[in-house]
Amino acid sequence: MDNFTVGVVVFPGSNCDRDVSWALEGCLDIRTKYLWHEFSDLSDVDAIVLPGGFSYGDYLRCGAIARFSPLINALDEFVKSGKRVLGICNGFQILTESGFLPGALVANKNLNFICDDVELDIVSSKGGWFNNVDEKQTIKLPIAHGEGRYHCDSDTLKKLVDNELIALRYKNNPNGSSFDIAGITNEKGNVLGLMPHPERACDETIGGTDGLFTLKSLILK
């Protein structure tokens, strides 16, 4: 695992890229490499994080423009190969806009930008992204978003439930998300998108370590 490298994608407007890199390198001793959004050669990274922020100023819709970057075009093959991709906040929005995950993220029900710690139920163990084997567990992670209300139609929701693709649900739904959804995976489990920020919960001195496991699980095969 010494050479395992996590690519942290940098779009114009990303602002959690350094936090993710700091958490991986400083807290977990996992090597990272920044990937400018115009790169399309992903051969020297073993997993990828799409960090939070406001890629392309959130113009048109959050994540809508990022979808057309060379890097996201190259991501399809990366995902198909089974390598792991974690989309946090704006990264989750990009994953839904580009079709790697179903549904969409729209303006919070109360229109507020919500910056808070939230309690989350871990619902599925698919992909091994959370420290649960079979029983439900609760973790606390920070959220910081204005457009984090997960929306999907009823058929999609049924598929998410039936196939155990719902990773996280809010205990006290802060933004009006359908079915309290805070994070979902793809069917294979190698892609996780979530609105909460695990990278901001990797050190006791800044409010908790419930995010460590998810970042550490990037190195799972």
């Binding site: 048109l60 179903p102 729209v106 303006a107 109360n110 229109l111 999907c152 139609d153």
Partner: protein, 84 residues
């Protein structure tokens, strides 16, 4: 080549809550406007585009609407087209 002005209207689907529309409705009522039954906010995108005839331009605009201008998971679109 013909030139066209295309006006694309993108709206949240009726099944998607529009909190910005609700807030604006509430402000409209506070302003004293009566009789507002619903208010929803969308986007208008104006494109000047050239092509060989209306059909070719419609094909291009359909692609743009479907892949970029609207996210059809949450939004509907329609457009009008005017030859210059």
């Amino acid at each position: 080549m013909d030139q066209f002005v295309v006006k694309v209207f993108v709206r949240l689907r009726p099944s998607v809550l529009d909190p910005a529309g609700e807030a604006t409705k509430s402000a409209s009522i506070k302003l004293g406007a009566e009789g507002i039954k619903s208010l929803r906010i969308g986007k208008m995108i104006e494109v000047k585009i050239e092509g060989n005839g209306e059909n070719e331009v419609r094909e291009k605009i359909d692609l743009l609407c479907d892949r970029l201008f609207a996210n059809t998971v949450i939004e509907d679109y329609e457009y009008s087209l005017e030859k210059l």
